[in-house]
Each structure stands twice: as structure tokens, then as C-alpha cells.
């Protein structure tokens, strides 16, 4: 059923005739943050209450996009004179270039990336402009951990506007099993008008989205991810689409890209993705992972075993076992300490 709903959301299937199912689909689209995208696809083709509900979704994303424009401007201002031109990643980039993936898309955090050499200066300038680490991550261990092992700093939250910026120094954790040649992608990044910010090249935006979804994390926003990949693929010219496989091989992302093409072809019957997958000799993730990804997408509220598989896999991908164990132990001790402290406070 969710397969049909996703097709309806991207305009590739009609609206369900059954009202109860239609209502469930709308609630699904809303809960999984793709109502705005659905509203754009169906604009002018609905009436009555459905039209009003979709309008809610559009109005909501209107705010996200205004917020993003404003924050983009503030980030540029904070870095003014430093010569640093960060790369906007994900939603920020899609909105900035007017991608099909941006239309009606929800955006909450702003992801930017700078080179490792620029990291300290970028952090300093953003903090001077009012962005702060949350209390939970503002400690020596986290500050070192995020730099040494991860691919981004802890989230920086603005002290007045509460907006969050994630500053990346890599596209995947340093310790990740997948060795992405992110420097190649950085070198190909393109400046936006004004030259103060950049975005990844169109093919690289698709590859990064695939890497982010299938080589990092545990596929936590499946519906959003699928819709995003579908539209990113449609941003590309036929020529660019043909380049995906070659580029993926060059940057070391064949498996996540093949997995992305597989899931688009399999779930959405996306013929473009299917053709590209068949044209390459790359293999998507193994059977168990593919099964788990699909289960999580199709049964988002259940699929407990699939979720467990993907959670373990995300940790496995992220870092070698000895580092992972040390890190988890450290976090466990900290959690126990916090609990004890809280118990003490409650006693007194």
C-alpha cells in the first residue's frame, strides 16, 4: 500500500478512490514530511478538503524555505571577509539551485561543508555570530570525538533564532568502512551567484544523497529519502544520468548508488533508475540489507527486525569495532552518571 501511496505522492499514480485509504495516505505524507512535495505535484488538480489539506503542507514548507534563505544569508555574513565559501549540502543546496527535489520539501537543519583546514575558523566565526553547541555536546569528549571520528561538528544552534547548522568537514565519518573520495566531489563543487557559497555538481548531489541514505545512518526517513532521490534523478539531463555510474565508481560510491537505483526501480517502478542500474555492473547492498530497507519503508511503524538490522549495520559502517565499543561504553557510563545525578537532585 505504501508503494502505491509513494507513487501517488510523486504524481505517478492516481489518488486512491477509497476515502479511508486516501485519508491514511494524507496522514502518512504529513507524518513523513512529504505533504508539501505532494501538494506541489497535485497543485491545481484537487478540490475541496483535499485541496485545503495540501495547502497546509505548502504553507508549512513556505516557512522552511524562507528560513533557509535567511539563514543562508546570515551564514554568509558570519563568514564575510574570511574567504571561506562553504558548500551547501542536501536541502539547502536543492532550494538554492531550484532543484525539483526542493519544491515543497521540508527543511529543518542547514548542512554546510568546509575543508578541514577551514574548520576551526568556520566554527569560531559561526560561534561569534551566535551559534552555540547544545549543552549535551559541549564537553571535551564530544568536541574531540566529532572532529576526530565523525564527519561533522555537533549541531550548532543559534542562541536567538534556534536554527541549527551542521558543519561538515567530510561527507562520511572518517572511520567509515566506505572510503568516499569526497575531495573529488569538493573539487567539482560549483559556486552560487555571488560566489560566497557553493553547491555540489548535479550528479554529485544525487551521489551524496545516495551515500547519505545507504552508506550512513539507518534509513531513518525512508519516504522522504525515496522522494528526494526520485526528483534528484529527474534534475539531471540524459547525459548526466548516464554519467552517474562512472562518477560513482570514481568517487568510491558504487554500492550506495546502486542501492539507490535499485530501490527507486523496485519500489517506484522508476524506469530511468532501472535502465541505469542494468547498464552498470555495480551491485546494490546484499539481500538482507535490501530486505530490511524495503521492510522499513513499507512498514515504517513495525518492521522491528528490519530496524534492528539497519541500526546494527549503521554502526558497523560507521567505525571499526574497537572504536565503537569504546565509544558506546563511554556513552553508557555518561548516561548512568546523568541518571545518578538526577536521582541525587530529586532526593535533595
Amino acid at each position: 500500500m505504501i508503494r502505491d501511496w509513494l507513487k501517488t505522492i510523486i504524481g505517478q499514480a492516481p489518488m486512491p478512490e477509497n476515502i479511508a485509504e486516501r485519508a491514511k495516505m494524507i496522514e502518512f505524507a504529513d507524518t513523513h514530511h512529504v505533504l508539501g512535495q505532494m501538494a506541489v505535484t497535485w497543485e491545481g488538480k484537487t478540490e475541496g478538503k483535499l485541496k485545503e489539506v495540501l495547502e497546509n503542507g505548502l504553507l508549512r514548507t513556505g516557512f522552511d524555505h524562507r528560513m533557509l534563505r535567511f539563514e543562508k544569508d546570515r551564514i554568509t555574513r558570519a563568514l564575510l571577509g574570511s574567504g571561506i565559501a562553504p558548500i551547501l549540502l542536501k536541502g539547502g543546496a536543492y532550494v538554492a539551485v531550484g532543484s525539483k527535489a526542493a519544491k515543497g520539501r521540508r527543511v529543518s537543519d542547514i548542512d554546510i561543508m568546509v575543508s578541514e583546514e577551514q574548520l576551526d575558523q568556520t566554527e569560531g566565526l559561526l560561534r561569534a555570530a551566535g551559534w552555540e553547541f547544545d549543552e549535551t555536546t559541549n564537553n571535551d569528549y564530544d568536541i574531540a570525538y566529532y572532529r576526530k571520528y565523525m564527519h561533522e561538528l555537533p549541531p550548532l544552534r543559534h542562541n536567538k533564532r534556534q536554527t541549527v547548522v551542521d558543519v561538515h568537514h567530510h561527507l562520511l565519518p572518517r572511520t567509515s568502512r566506505i572510503k568516499l573520495q569526497s575531495n573529488l566531489m569538493l573539487d567539482a563543487a560549483m559556486p552560487l551567484a555571488g560566489g560566497k557559497l557553493k553547491v555540489l555538481a548535479p550528479v554529485d548531489r544525487f551521489i551524496h544523497s545516495a551515500v547519505h541514505s545507504f552508506a550512513d545512518g539507518s534509513f531513518d526517513t525512508p519516504a522522504r529519502t525515496l522522494v528526494e532521490l526520485y526528483y534528484l534523478l529527474r534534475d539531471l539531463s540524459t547525459e548526466e544520468q548516464k554519467n552517474i555510474n562512472i562518477r560513482a565508481a570514481d568517487v568510491g560510491a558504487t554500492q550506495p548508488v546502486a542501492t539507490a537505483l535499485w530501490i527507486l526501480a523496485d519500489v517506484l517502478d522508476d524506469t530511468v533508475a532501472d535502465t541505469l542500474l542494468k547498464a552498470s555492473n555495480a551491485k546494490p547492498s546484499g539481500l538482507i540489507v535490501r530486505y530490511a530497507l524495503k521492510q522499513k519503508l513499507m512498514h515504517i511503524n513495525k518492521a522491528y527486525s528490519a530496524k534492528t538490522i539497519l541500526l546494527i549495520r549503521s554502526h558497523y559502517l560507521r567505525m571499526p569495532w574497537h572504536l565503537l565499543l569504546a565509544h558506546l561504553l563511554r556513552k553508557a557510563i555518561r548516561n548512568v552518571r546523568t541518571l545518578l545525578k538526577r536521582a541525587d537532585q530529586e532526593d535533595s
Binding site: 476515502i19 479511508a20 486516501r22 485519508a23 494524507i26 496522514e27 504529513d30 507524518t31 475541496g48 478538503k49 483535499l50 485545503e52 489539506v53 495547502e55 497546509n56 504553507l59 508549512r60 513556505g62 516557512f63 524562507r66
Partner: protein
């Protein structure tokens, strides 16, 4: 059988119960339709008590603005020391309540869903009443006396728009009714009972996180007119201070706007459209801060101001 809206009180209890359990019960009030779901008998009781005149149908006739599911917070609480929360389809920090308070969870969840999801209106946390000449918007924090004043004005002949939401239409700058039961806390229950009479009050829920709570029912006439918006003629900011002589202070348009903005749940989301609608509403209304020590005083002040505002 046709699936048309009928007065809730005209249905058999079992029909409402079954529809509620299967999540197909649809209610329509003002500009909003709501899909209701829950398994607690207390909610069915409450619907017949507080919403008996509201139009509902047993099967969904269309998609709805909001959906609310009153359910156990987790599998353990479904069986052991049972608890419920109201789930509006997005994550909210809700305090789980015992089943006998499920109507409260239902009301709070519904308020939250409307406040956060319905972006077609700029939503102000305020009570609104009106007549055929215009509307009075009463803006106050919880406990500021807006529900008591709104209940008193209902007795005066005003129709109830809402005791929680000022719904500002962004195109017309008019206020839309959304007549849900008026929530009364602690002392205000007896005050309202005195001038409204027992027959318009629901049962009282004791031991809630906010003390005693009861609801003043919406009248059939309020519901019949719930599709008719009106322009605000009077905007009031009541301040309740015990044993204080009544006083009135007229507010400038700019001060009014600056006081209303923080009381909105979605003003900041809607950009220019909500700014312009707010200006339009305030331009057409007289605005006052009224300070009083008892309901009688607040009613007299409001009567006087309403007459001057042409209501």
C-alpha cells in the same frame, strides 16, 4: 444508509463507539474536519456529554484537516496501570493520563493539532464571541479569565466562536468560528454554573494536572452559525487581579499587534500574509486592556465597550 452529517446525540451509543474504535468518526466544526479515534468508553461518554450537538458522520466522507488518536503510550500501559495519550500524528511531549481523564487528553491533543497543523489561518490563543454585527477577540494566557468572560458573554446573547482559537482568515482578515466546548478550571466552574445553569455544564473531572476541569457545552445555535466568519470589532486583553477596582486602558494599534503576535502559534510560519491579515483585523477594531477583580466587573466593562464599538 446514507453517510451524512447528523447531530452526534441522535446516534446510538454503539455506532459512535464502533466508529471511534475503527477511527472512521468524522466531526465537522467551523472550517475544520477532524478524524477521531480511540478505544476508551470515557471518550464516548464525553462526546455525548460535551459534543452532543456537533455534526458527525460514522464513515469518513473526505480527508480531514486533523486526526487524533487517543491510545496507550506504549504496549505495557495498554494493560498494566493503563494510561492514554492523544496522538495527532506528530511527536508531542504529552503527559500520559489515566483512562478516566482521556477526554482531557482528547481535548488537549485536538487543540495542539489545530494549533500546529492548520496553516490556512493565523491562529491566536484567545477566546472569540460575536453577534451579527461583529466579533470580540479576548486574548489572555491560560487562567487569565478568557473562558469565564466568554461564557458570561454567551449568556448575554453572543454566539461562541471558540474559547481557545482566534482563527484569522488571511485573505479577508475575518475571524472564523470553531465552536468546541469551553474549558473551565477550578473556581471558574462554579462561577459559570451560577450564571449559565447546570444544564449547560458537563461533568467535572477531578485530579487533573490543572486541578478540576469542566466544560461548558456549545449551543446548537453556535454550531449552526459556525460557517459564518465576522470581522473583529473589539479586542480585549483581560487582566484578572483579585480585589482590584475595574479599570480600562485603550491600547494603540501597534501595542495591540505586538501583544497579539506572541499569542499566535503559527504567525511566524506564515510570513507576509499573516502580517497583513493581522494589520487588517486590528485596523477595524477598538482595543483595550481591562483589569478587574470579579466576573461581574469584567462583564460590565465589556458591555460598555461593546456598545461603544457598535456591537
Amino acid at each position: 444508509m446514507k453517510n451524512e452529517f447528523q447531530r452526534l446525540g441522535d446516534y446510538h451509543r454503539e455506532d459512535i463507539d464502533v466508529a471511534l474504535r475503527s477511527g472512521s468518526l468524522e466531526m465537522e466544526l467551523g472550517p475544520f474536519s477532524m478524524r477521531l479515534e480511540g478505544r476508551e468508553a470515557d471518550i464516548v461518554d464525553f462526546l455525548f456529554d460535551a459534543y452532543r450537538d456537533a455534526p458527525v458522520r460514522l464513515k469518513l466522507g473526505d480527508v480531514t484537516d486533523v486526526a487524533i488518536n487517543v491510545r496507550p503510550p506504549n504496549i505495557i500501559r495498554k494493560y498494566i496501570r493503563r494510561q492514554v495519550i492523544a496522538d495527532p500524528g506528530f511527536i508531542v511531549p504529552a503527559v500520559p493520563l489515566p483512562p478516566y481523564l482521556s477526554p482531557l487528553a482528547f481535548e488537549m491533543g485536538l487543540n495542539l493539532a489545530i494549533a500546529l497543523k492548520c496553516c490556512r489561518f493565523t491562529t491566536f490563543h484567545s477566546a472569540v464571541v460575536g453577534n451579527e454585527r461583529g466579533a470580540i477577540l479576548i486574548s489572555a494566557h491560560s487562567g487569565g479569565g478568557k473562558s469565564t468572560l466568554a461564557s458570561a458573554l454567551m449568556v448575554e446573547g453572543y454566539r461562541l466562536f471558540s474559547d481557545e482559537f482566534g482563527l484569522l482568515d488571511m485573505e479577508t482578515g475575518m475571524l472564523h468560528p470553531y465552536p468546541r466546548p469551553v474549558s473551565l478550571k477550578e473556581k471558574s466552574i462554579d462561577i459559570v454554573r451560577e450564571f449559565t445553569g447546570e444544564k449547560w455544564l458537563t461533568k467535572t473531572f477531578g485530579g487533573t494536572p490543572k486541578g478540576d476541569i469542566a466544560y461548558r457545552r456549545v449551543r446548537p445555535s453556535d454550531i449552526q452559525l459556525s460557517k459564518t466568519p465576522m470581522a473583529a470589532k473589539l479586542i480585549l486583553f483581560p487582566v484578572f487581579q483579585e480585589d482590584t477596582p475595574p479599570s480600562v486602558r485603550e491600547l494603540s494599534k501597534s501595542e495591540t499587534i505586538m501583544k497579539l503576535i506572541p499569542s499566535s502559534t503559527n504567525y511566524h510560519l506564515l510570513g507576509t500574509a499573516s502580517f497583513e491579515a493581522l494589520i487588517k483585523m486590528v485596523a477595524g477594531a477598538q482595543t483595550f486592556e481591562i483589569t478587574y477583580g470579579n466576573t461581574q466587573d469584567s462583564l460590565e466593562i465589556t458591555r460598555d465597550l461593546a456598545a461603544k464599538a457598535g456591537l
